[in-house]
Amino acid sequence: MELFTNQVLAGIATGAIYACMALAVVMIYQAIDHLNFAQGEMAMFSTFISWQLMQWGIPYWWAFLATLIISFGGGILIERLLFKPLAKAPVLTNVAGFIALFAIVNSVAGLIWDFTIKQYPSPFGSSPFLGSQLISTHQAGMIGVTLGLLIALYFFFQFTRIGLAMRAAASLPESARLVGINTSWMIALGWGMASAIGAIAGILIAPVVFLEPNMMGGVLIYGFAAAVLGGLTSPLGAVLGGFLVGVFENLAGTYIPGVGNELKLPIALALIITVLVVKPAGLLGRPIVKRV
């Protein structure tokens, strides 16, 4: 039983990271209807920026804040320069664009900071949480930050003018434009926010997986799985999906014979395909209706 609780808690903790990634994926998906395959690399780059700031002697939380602002600006810049011109292009061109971005960011990070593995500090420390052996303070912190982020996003979208405008621009762009919303900037804002949320995910996971240019490869795929599981149109679904994928992955690794560590990833992927086939809109997403 202790093993079970342990695995579930550890699953929830890693699930928090997947939830962050999934949130970022959903933000961009809401804004432009595309999956950002470069999301993980953008998050990795942000994490490196925060690491560099700390190397220059800036305290953790200031570096954290600065990284969020830089990432936000970077996200907007990428949208303005690279993806705004592609807005009317077919899906395929966009996918190619995301892959190109992936390659560039990964390679540039490798050039600047090279491929050696680096330690990354945790603001919460790694001692046991409240004297319990089940979960460390860092894991508890990860869960707390994710939930805080979700609540903040909820208030942003529900109760602020900009949040409302963003939702309007995402669901009915033409009508939103007619009532005077600058839909183009709403998309850029979505990119900026996604980039900042990705940065948080990267900074949170870096103490666990260590810092290096390829650190987000696996995480992004779980993030996709989480986003798809929860529904690509629902931020709450993304977070729920993140926790579910984390727990599912850990339990499958522990209890299904022959799965172990090697097969965890394929299992998560099988989960994506199963969900897509059975319930394409995800758990909390709204189904897509096509009119002829």
Binding site: P90, A100, I104, S107, V108, F115, P280
Partner: protein, 337 residues
């Protein structure tokens, strides 16, 4: 366009290509063919090997092009089919002792079945979701190949070594050159078959689905059948390419068939021009040579150069090599006047 219209009509995933524009003219084809036949006589073995790989990747890009340019579905998981083909050939040659040439059709058939089966769930997905599902397949494949359960056959992490075939009938040519011509013949055969497939009734059904699925089904096209069929054919050809690849490289191992390969093939198609079959070779050249050249300029830079070039292609020539070819044709036309 009114606002309401824009909301309800979904843009197709791929831009339509006119049917005539899918191939080269006869004259150009013959020139390219002659160049491909004669080139190995004048170059070193290593370059012959690279040309063989060019044809093999070209074949894999062609297969993806049939799927995407033909039926409008796209896949980031071609490396999985390529891997299955490669392993089929390698296992049949090394464990069963079969002749290398015979393993290729078997690899093709197995991959066709695999693709057809994978196409079943894929039927319900489109656009982004399909990209994601196939992406998942490509990521999972190397892990599956490493499984202890299959290790007796696949060689696990170590992989399998494949013997390179000699030229038959005592022909006076080296192994590399023989393999090049062998690959060339297969490539040409599959190219001709593909052109004919896309011009046939089935090909027209593919394109109808690509342009408007609902309209196609209203006209009586069996959408489910043709979508899975496109997946099957594409996987089958990719499998043959994979088998050839295994013979040429003389080695199969799980890490040779990662998502990077799938992405390369996808990019090859974009660079070559979606739906323009001759572009496959151009795209294949892009994915083989560009990383090498970039690596030569600065180590570790290849990803960045690759990405930047790709953005340039997307922005400047969104139709890839096809667009360049059309512009070139028009220029030549003007010069003749």
């Amino acid at each position: 366009m009114s606002a309401a219209e824009e909301v309800v009509t979904e843009a197709p995933a791929v831009e339509a290509v006119p049917k005539r524009a899918m191939t080269l003219g006869l004259g150009t084809s013959l020139v390219v063919l002659a160049a491909l036949v004669l080139a190995p006589l004048f170059v070193k073995n290593f370059i012959i090997f690279q040309m063989t790989m060019l044809l093999i990747y070209g074949l894999a890009v062609l297969a993806l092009n049939i799927l995407t340019g033909g039926s409008g579905q796209f896949s980031l998981g071609q490396s999985a089919f390529y891997a299955v083909g490669a392993y089929t050939s390698a296992i049949l040659m090394e464990h069963v002792g079969m002749n290398y040439a015979l393993t290729l059709p078997i690899a093709g058939v197995i991959c066709f079945a695999f693709g057809f089966v994978f196409g079943q769930p894929a039927l319900r997905l489109s656009g982004v979701y399909l990209a994601l599902a196939t992406f998942a397949l490509a990521v999972a494949m190397p892990q599956l190949l490493k499984l202890g359960f299959f290790e007796h056959w696949t060689g696990g992490v170590q992989g399998l070594v494949v013997t390179k075939p000699d030229a038959p009938f005592g022909l006076p040519m080296g192994q590399d050159m023989w393999l090049y011509y062998f690959t060339l013949v297969i490539t040409i055969g599959i190219y001709i078959a593909s052109v004919n497939l896309l011009r046939s009734r089935s090909g027209r059904a593919f394109m109808a689905i690509r342009d408007n699925e609902i309209a196609a089904s209203a006209m009586g096209v069996d959408v489910a059948l043709y979508k899975t069929l496109a997946f099957g054919v594409s996987a089958g050809i990719t499998g043959v390419a994979g088998g050839l690849g295994a013979i040429a490289v003389q080695f199969v191992a799980p890490d040779g068939y990662t998502i990077t390969l799938a992405i390369s093939l996808f990019l090859g198609m974009v660079v070559g021009g979606v739906g323009w079959l001759p572009g496959s070779i151009v795209g294949s050249a892009f994915i083989i040579f560009v990383p090498n050249i970039a690596e030569g300029i600065s180590k570790g830079l290849s990803g960045a150069v690759f990405g930047v070039l790709l953005f340039l292609v997307i922005f400047l020539v969104p139709h890839g090599a096809r667009q360049v070819a059309i512009v070139a044709q028009q220029l030549i036309g003007k010069l003749k006047k």
